[in-house]
C-alpha cells in the first residue's frame, strides 16, 4: 500500500527519494505515531515533503490515495451556509465576473444548481470529500473560484478535524507559480549573486598571511585582500504605460526588489518596444530621452540585460520603421532589440502576462523569437528560471 503511495507521489511531481521513504518506514516501525490517519499524514509530510510549495500537491496525492480510508471515518458534508458562501464569492469576484453570474441567471439560480450538483455528488461518493470541480472550469467548486482554495461547506469547528486537513489544501497559495511579493522576488533575484573581490585591499587575508609568515621564517608578513561583494551588473528596461497599467503592482515590486539586490543597477523605461531613445523619468519622458546608442557604448558587455514588458502590441511596432504608436521611428524596433542583444549576450525578457496567453498574441511570439526563447513569465518560478538563464 505504501509503495503505491510512494510512486503516486513521484508521479505527482514530488521527488521523494528512497532514503526519505525508508525514513518514513522506520518512523512507523518505531511507533512514534499512533494509528490515526491524521498522525500518519503529519508524519509522512514531515518525512517526504521538503518544500512548503509542494504541500498542496502532497495534499492532493494524499487525498487521492486515501480516499477510501476517509470514508471509514464518516463524513460531515455539504451543509452550505448560503450567506457565507455568497459573501466569499462576492469577495473574490470582480465586477465583470459578477455580471457574468447575473447573466447565468443570478445568484438564486446559481445556488440552486450548485446545491443540486452537490447532492448528485453526495450520492456518487457517499458523501466523500471531493468537492465539485476541483479544477476550475465549472462555475462551481472550491478551488476553482477562489485562488486561496477556500473550501466551500466545511464549517469552522469541523475543519479542525485533522482527517480533513489534506482536503482543505491550505497551502494552496504557496504553489510557486502564484505568489509574488518583494521578498520573494528578492530571494529569486539572489540567484544572480556573484561574489567577487574587487577594489581596495582592506581585509586581512589570514590564510595568506600565515603562509607567507611561515615562508618568512616566522617574521610577520601581513597580506590584505579586497572585500567580497556582489559584482553582478544589471540593465533593467521597463515597459511603461498602455497595456502595462494592469501590471503596475508586480512591476513595482520587481523594481524595488531589484534595487535592493543589485549594487550596479541601471534602469530605463520604454513603451511597448525599445527604439532609439529611452528615458529615466516618466514625467519628463519627452524632454529627457537618452539615446539607446549611447547606452550601448556606455555600459560594458558584462552587464546583464533584463526587459520587463507584456510585449503586447501591434506587430508593426516591432517589425516596421515608423511603426511606433508614439513617434516616428527611423528604424524598426526589432533592429534596436538585435543591437541590444548583440551587445549584451546575457539577456532575458520577463512578461507579466499569464503564460497561457502567450500563444494567442503574435507580438509576444515575435519578441520571444527575437529573444531566442528567453522570455519568462513574471512569477517567482519564472524569475528563477530567468535568473538561471542569466547566470
Amino acid at each position: 500500500m505504501l509503495i503505491k503511495f510512494f510512486f503516486m507521489l513521484r508521479d505527482g511531481g514530488i521527488k521523494v527519494s528512497l532514503t526519505e521513504f525508508l525514513t518514513l518506514l522506520e518512523v512507523l516501525k518505531r511507533r512514534i505515531a499512533g494509528y490515526s490517519v491524521d498522525e500518519f499524514y503529519y508524519l509522512s509530510r514531515a518525512c517526504l515533503v521538503k518544500d512548503e510549495a509542494l504541500y498542496d500537491r502532497f495534499d492532493q496525492v494524499f487525498a487521492a490515495h486515501f480516499k477510501g480510508i476517509q470514508a471509514i471515518f464518516g463524513d460531515d458534508v455539504a451543509e452550505i451556509p448560503e450567506d457565507w458562501l455568497r459573501k466569499q464569492l462576492e469577495l473574490s469576484l470582480s465586477e465583470e465576473e459578477k455580471a457574468q453570474i447575473e447573466a447565468l441567471g443570478g445568484w438564486e439560480k446559481l445556488m440552486e444548481t450548485l446545491r443540486k450538483r452537490l447532492e448528485e455528488q453526495e450520492k456518487r461518493h457517499q458523501g466523500g470529500s471531493k468537492w465539485i470541480g476541483t479544477g476550475g472550469t465549472s462555475p462551481f467548486g472550491a478551488y476553482g473560484y477562489n485562488p486561496e482554495g477556500m473550501r466551500i461547506g466545511q464549517e469552522g469547528s469541523r475543519n479542525r478535524r485533522a482527517v480533513k486537513v489534506w482536503d482543505r489544501r491550505e497551502f494552496r497559495n504557496l504553489d510557486d507559480s502564484v505568489e509574488l511579493g518583494t521578498r520573494n522576488l528578492k530571494v529569486a533575484l539572489r540567484r544572480l549573486r556573484r561574489f567577487a573581490r574587487e577594489g581596495a585591499a582592506d581585509e586581512l587575508d589570514l590564510h595568506d598571511t600565515i603562509e607567507s609568515t611561515a615562508r618568512n621564517a616566522g617574521l610577520l608578513d601581513i597580506r590584505m585582500v579586497p572585500e567580497r561583494h556582489n559584482a553582478v551588473k544589471v540593465l533593467l528596461f521597463l515597459d511603461i504605460g498602455g497595456s502595462m497599467d494592469d501590471h503596475v503592482r508586480v512591476c513595482e515590486e520587481l523594481f524595488s526588489a531589484a534595487r535592493g539586490e543589485f549594487k550596479h543597477l541601471e534602469y530605463f523605461y520604454f513603451h511597448n518596444c525599445v527604439y532609439e531613445g529611452v528615458w529615466k523619468d516618466n514625467r519628463r519622458r519627452h524632454s529627457e530621452r537618452l539615446p539607446t546608442m549611447d547606452l550601448l557604448h556606455k555600459y560594458a558587455a558584462d552587464y546583464k540585460l533584463i526587459f520587463v514588458g507584456d510585449a503586447t502590441m501591434s506587430p508593426y511596432e516591432i517589425h516596421y520603421p515608423g511603426g511606433s504608436v508614439e513617434h516616428w521611428n527611423e528604424e524598426a524596433g526589432a533592429t534596436w532589440m538585435k543591437r541590444l542583444l548583440d551587445t549584451y549576450p546575457k539577456a532575458i525578457w520577463l512578461n507579466p502576462e499569464p503564460l497561457q496567453r502567450w500563444d494567442y498574441t503574435p507580438s509576444i511570439r515575435m519578441i520571444n523569437e527575437l529573444m531566442e526563447e528567453r522570455m519568462f513569465p513574471l512569477t517567482v518560478r519564472g524569475l528563477e528560471e530567468g535568473m538561471r538563464a542569466l547566470g
Binding site: 518512523v27 514531515a46 530571494v187 600565515i210 609568515t213
Partner: protein
C-alpha cells in the same frame, strides 16, 4: 529516563502537526528543518524543546560569513603565531589552539542536547553541503590533532530557515521538514492566552480583529506577525487602552492606537491612512 515526547510548553503553543514532526526527529535523532513566516516562533521552538524535554540547549547563529568548519572547530592560528613570537611554552601543543565549535560541544554532552542552527539560509550556498556527513553520521575528524570526534548522543538538531536560499536536495533528504503556517484565529487566542493570561476578553477579541483586519489589507509591504501582535498587546496593556478604542467603527476613522508596533514601514502607514481616508469618504 527523561521525557522523550515533546508536547509544547506552558509558554509555547505547538500545533499537532508540529509536535508529530518534532517527535519523529527526536526519536530518530535526525535534524528537523523549520520554515515559516518571520515571527512565527521558529527560533523559539528549539528553546522550548530544550525546556520541555529538560535538555541543555546549544545555539549556533549563522551569518553570511559563517563557514561550516566553524561549527566543528577552529584552529586559532593567530594566537599560536603570537605565542610563538613571544616564546610561550603552549605553542608546542597544537591542541591548545583548537577552539571547539557548537557542533563539537553538542557531541560532547552527557545528556542528549538540543542544538539550534539558526537561519541556515543566511550562510554561503555550499554551507549545508559541508555539514552533510557530520549531520548524518554525527562524527567528524580533527585534522590537526588526528582525532575523530563522535557524538555521545545524537543531538536534537533544530534548523531554521527563512527561505532566502534554496537548500540542496542532499541536505533536505537527511532532515525532517515542517512549515509553520501563520496561526489561525483560534490558535492565536491560545498563544496570546499563554503569554498574557489575564488579558480582558473583550480587549483580546478587538485586538485580534484589528490585527487580522490589518493583515488582510492588500498591498502591505510587511504583514504584522505573531511576535508583533504580542508586543502590541503588551503596549496596549501598559497604556491601559480600553477595548472600545479598538472596535471596528473607530478603526475606520483612525489608525489603531500604538500602530507603530504593528506597521514597521512608513509606506505601509501611508497606505493604511489612505485606505482610512477612502473609507471615510465612502461613509459620508
Amino acid at each position: 529516563m527523561t521525557e522523550t515526547r515533546f508536547s509544547g510548553t506552558d509558554r509555547y503553543v505547538a500545533t499537532e502537526d508540529l509536535m508529530t514532526a518534532v517527535n519523529a526527529a527526536v526519536t530518530l535523532g535526525r535534524p528537523i528543518l523549520i520554515k515559516g513566516e518571520p515571527g512565527t516562533g521558529k527560533t523559539q521552538l528549539a528553546e522550548e524543546i530544550a525546556r520541555g524535554l529538560d535538555r541543555p540547549l546549544l545555539q549556533w547563529h549563522i551569518k553570511s560569513t559563517t563557514k561550516a568548519q566553524q561549527g566543528l572547530y577552529e584552529y586559532d592560528a593567530v594566537a599560536r603565531l603570537r605565542d610563538s613570537q613571544l616564546g610561550d611554552e603552549r605553542v608546542h601543543d597544537i591542541a591548545n589552539y583548537i577552539v571547539r565549535g557548537p557542533l563539537w560541544e553538542a557531541f560532547d554532552q552527557d545528556l542528549q542536547p538540543v542544538l539550534l542552527i539558526d537561519e541556515i539560509d543566511k550562510a554561503d550556498i555550499e554551507f549545508p553541503n559541508d555539514l552533510l556527513r557530520e549531520l548524518d553520521r554525527m562524527e567528524f575528524y580533527v585534522y590537526e590533532t588526528q582525532q575523530t570526534v563522535v557524538a555521545k548522543h545524537r543531538p536534537i538538531i533544530v534548523i531554521t530557515s527563512n527561505n532566502e536560499k534554496e537548500l540542496p536536495d542532499a541536505f533536505l533528504r537527511r532532515c525532517f521538514f515542517h512549515y509553520i503556517r501563520f496561526p489561525d484565529h483560534e490558535t492565536m487566542r491560545e498563544i496570546v492566552d499563554v503569554h498574557y493570561p489575564g488579558l480582558k476578553k473583550e480587549l483580546l477579541e478587538e485586538a485580534l480583529k484589528a490585527f487580522y483586519g490589518l493583515r488582510e489589507v492588500p498591498g502591505l509591504k510587511k504583514k504584522p506577525s505573531t511576535s508583533e501582535l504580542l508586543d502590541w498587546l503588551k503596549l496596549l496593556l501598559a497604556e491601559d487602552v480600553p477595548p472600545e478604542a479598538l472596535s471596528s467603527d473607530d478603526r475606520r476613522k483612525t489608525l489603531p492606537p500604538l500602530h507603530g508596533a504593528l506597521l514597521k514601514n512608513e509606506q505601509d502607514v501611508h497606505l493604511f491612512e489612505r485606505l482610512i481616508f477612502l473609507s471615510q469618504r465612502e461613509g459620508r
